[in-house]
């Protein structure tokens, strides 16, 4: 029975946190523009209803199966990512011995489903978004592999619960200060937000999402938010000690930490401009990758 209960809890968590991000986005925009937010709590629900009321669109000869599957698989991948995160020492949905390797697989498969989503519509703007996303999504994955391996060093294990246990005395965010910021960039890339929005950007008329409407679009937008939640929960667990914390019960700590990380992610996604894909590619390989190297060396020296 436990997997079912935990699954339902996580699905509720994803839905709730997706709503929370939408609220944060609205509040952030209103504050930056110096106006009153528009129905801050209910606005996300109104928009969901609007999207759901619209007819589902088709294009000429699309790859319909993959077009409908891609949003669903994307959301499902976010679910399997978040399943690695323990609520407490006793309750974890997927207690994988190699949890962070699965997280890497989630990143790899995310690139695949986003590509499929852009490919399936048989439209030029979506195609450009799909190919552009692959260019950025692939190398960003390497950075996250480095920082997660660095986090695994002191734990002597690839399992997420063990990584939490290794942070009893000191959180990884202090031990390996470069890890969290680099991992947050990955979160932006996985859900293509702000400076990492290479799939659904404004210049492509929303890119891979430019031809969808109705329920498929609702699932797609939810999946993007769910993936951001999954990254935040993972970041809170791997770098901020997850459920560890005094006084309050463990799950509540996890919730709080995830919420704080999400504030950071929302701020990051509004604060930075998107640079051209080829410059971003260079930036990732030439600047961010060496930073990830330094993170690994740093973590290694500290762990010895």
């Amino acid at each position: 029975m436990t997997p079912i209960v935990l699954t339902m809890t996580w699905v509720a968590f994803l839905l709730g946190m997706a709503w929370y991000i939408a609220v944060l986005d609205g509040l952030w925009a209103a504050a930056r523009e110096g106006r009153q937010p528009r129905a801050p709590l209910a606005n996300p629900l109104y928009r969901c209803a609007t999207i759901l009321r619209q007819q589902s669109n088709l294009t000429e000869a699309p790859d319909l199966l993959n077009w409908r599957l891609a949003p669903a698989l994307y959301a499902g991948l976010a679910g399997t990512g978040v399943a690695l995160v323990p609520f407490s020492s006793a309750s974890v949905l997927a207690d994988l011995e190699v949890g962070i390797v699965w997280w890497g697989a989630v990143e790899a498969l995310t690139v695949v489903v986003v590509f499929l989503h852009g490919w399936s519509a048989n439209s030029q703007l979506g195609l450009i978004g799909a190919y552009r996303y692959v260019a950025i999504g692939l190398p960003v994955m390497l950075i996250s592999m480095f920082v997660l391996i660095a986090a695994a060093l002191p734990a002597e294990s690839l399992a997420v619960p063990k990584i939490i246990e290794s942070q009893h005395e000191l959180w990884n965010v202090i031990r390996q200060p470069l890890g969290l910021p680099l991992f947050l960039l990955l979160g932006l890339s996985l859900s293509f937000r702000g400076p990492f929005n290479y799939a659904d950007s404004a210049d492509l008329a929303d890119g891979t999402a430019s031809e969808i409407s109705g329920a498929a679009r609702l699932v797609w937008e939810f999946a993007r938010l769910a993936m951001l939640v999954a990254t935040a929960a993972m970041a809170a667990t791997v770098f901020l000690g997850g459920y560890l914390g005094p006084v309050l019960p463990g799950p509540l700590w996890l919730l709080l930490k995830t919420a704080v990380v999400l504030v950071l992610l929302v701020a990051l996604s509004h604060l930075f401009a998107r640079i051209s894909p080829s410059r971003m590619l260079t930036l990732i390989w030439i600047v961010l990758m060496p930073l990830a190297f330094i993170d690994l060396v740093w973590a290694g020296l500290v762990a010895l």
Partner: protein, 416 residues
């Protein structure tokens, strides 16, 4: 239940920009009650702002049909809509937000029937029943599978069939971040533009910031009014670029500043500029991107020319300005970055002039520099020479680093 919730959402509107309406539409962008979508697929109302050329009617109909049901068209402008019912139009002087909300609510509840398609419900080419599986194609690349041909390599490939295809299509006239009215036939290879041809020219720019300059032709006008219009014009240009690089909130801040300048409020541009610099706007505009040669910069004139390092500004010769120690600001690089910096510099300088001489007047008929690439002999340089070799996002950045008057002159009214 779903209807009730949906009716309270921001109205999803796709804007088809016609003539004369650009600044008014920017007002909509600032309104939290309106959600201006990037694609018609996400919109429920097609807002036709201003007059649309007769030759663009087919494009407009196609756009209309791309909206998902329930959908409606709303006309905003004076010239059209005699045959359109009251619920679906607004005069150009009116604010259409309330009317849009009502129309949207009725659309959701079913009180206003969703509009049916305007173009024929038939594939671009008849295909059913042809080919091995009735898909309309023959062989590997032949025929019209599902109604359209397949992309082909630019020249017949007699060797190994490995030549990459090109994809040629018309783009515009109602593309977001695209000069209103411009239709280009663009050839892509991958995401890089290989060539472009003008099919339909841009709509001539006509915006509110022109009013004081027109006024000056026959009446003595306050310097403050002129310079405020300049600042507002530049802020709107900056806003477009900010939105394009993924900073929509900063972009709306620039829009709000422009509106406040027009309303004679005192504002400071420095915070916006600082926020933009902190967000890495410079990195988003690669050095050298969109660099134009000296001849073109001179021919376009205005801020484009000064961004190329030519201190040519009619204000230098005007006594009112020389009394204020006016010297034109300029950049040297003549690329997108320089043009953006020029907009910021000139807007800040304009506001400084306003605060230095709030009551100064300029005699009518005086020759005062306009904020845009002003009138000059026609030029033979085309926007189509600017784009080849650029990746799509860079191409849009380059387009949006020019003011609409400059773009209009580079995509001439008579198609070449």
């Amino acid at each position: 239940m779903l209807e009730r919730l949906a009716a309270r959402a921001p109205v999803p509107v796709f804007v088809a920009m016609g003539r004369d309406r650009a600044p008014a539409v920017e007002r909509l962008l600032r309104n939290a009650d309106i959600d201006v979508t990037a694609t018609p697929r996400h919109a429920s109302i097609l807002l036709v702002a201003g007059r649309v050329r007769d030759s663009d009617q087919a494009y407009l109909d196609r756009l209309h049909d791309q909206l998902p049901h329930p959908r409606a068209t709303f006309w905003w402008g004076d010239e059209q809509g005699d045959d359109v019912d009251e619920a679906r139009r607004a005069a150009s002087s009116d604010d259409p937000v309330v009317a849009l909300r009502v129309l949207y609510r009725n659309l959701i509840s079913g009180a206003h029937a969703s509009e049916t398609h305007r173009l024929a419900d038939e594939p671009p080419a008849p295909w059913r029943g042809k080919g091995d599986h009735g898909q309309g194609g023959e062989g590997m690349m032949g025929g019209v599978p599902y109604g359209r041909m397949m992309p082909m390599p630019p020249t017949p490939d007699i060797r190994d069939g490995l030549t990459l295809d090109v994809y040629t299509t018309q783009i515009g006239p109602f593309m977001p971040y695209w000069p209103a009215g411009l239709v280009l036939e663009v050839t892509f290879q991958g995401d890089v533009i290989q060539s472009a041809e003008v099919v339909n020219p841009t709509y001539p720019p006509r915006d509110v910031d022109r009013v004081p300059f027109d006024h000056l032709l026959h009446e003595t006008t306050a310097l403050a009014q002129i310079e405020r219009a300049r600042a507002a014009h530049h802020l709107v240009c900056i806003a477009r670029l900010l939105s394009l690089v993924g900073l929509p909130t900063l972009s709306r801040r620039a829009q709000i500043l422009a509106a406040r300048v027009r309303a004679n409020e005192t504002i400071a541009i420095a915070p916006l500029r600082k926020a933009a610099a902190r967000s890495g706007l410079k990195a988003a505009l690669a050095p050298g991107l969109g660099r134009i040669d000296d001849r073109l910069a001179r021919e376009l004139g205005g801020p484009v020319q000064r961004a190329a390092g030519h201190a040519i500004d009619h204000r230098s010769d005007n006594p009112t300005y020389t009394r204020l120690d006016f010297t034109p600001v300029m950049q040297t690089q003549s690329d997108c970055r320089a043009r953006l910096a020029q907009w910021f510099d000139e807007a800040e300088q304009a506001l400084a002039l306003v605060s230095a001489a709030p009551d100064a007047m300029i005699d009518h008929g005086a020759l005062i520099e306009a904020p845009w690439a002003h009138r000059a002999p026609p030029i033979d340089y085309r926007v189509t020479e600017l784009l080849p070799g650029l990746e799509w996002s860079e191409a849009l950045l380059v387009l949006n680093s020019f003011d609409s008057a400059a773009l209009c002159r580079m995509a001439p009214l008579e198609a070449p």
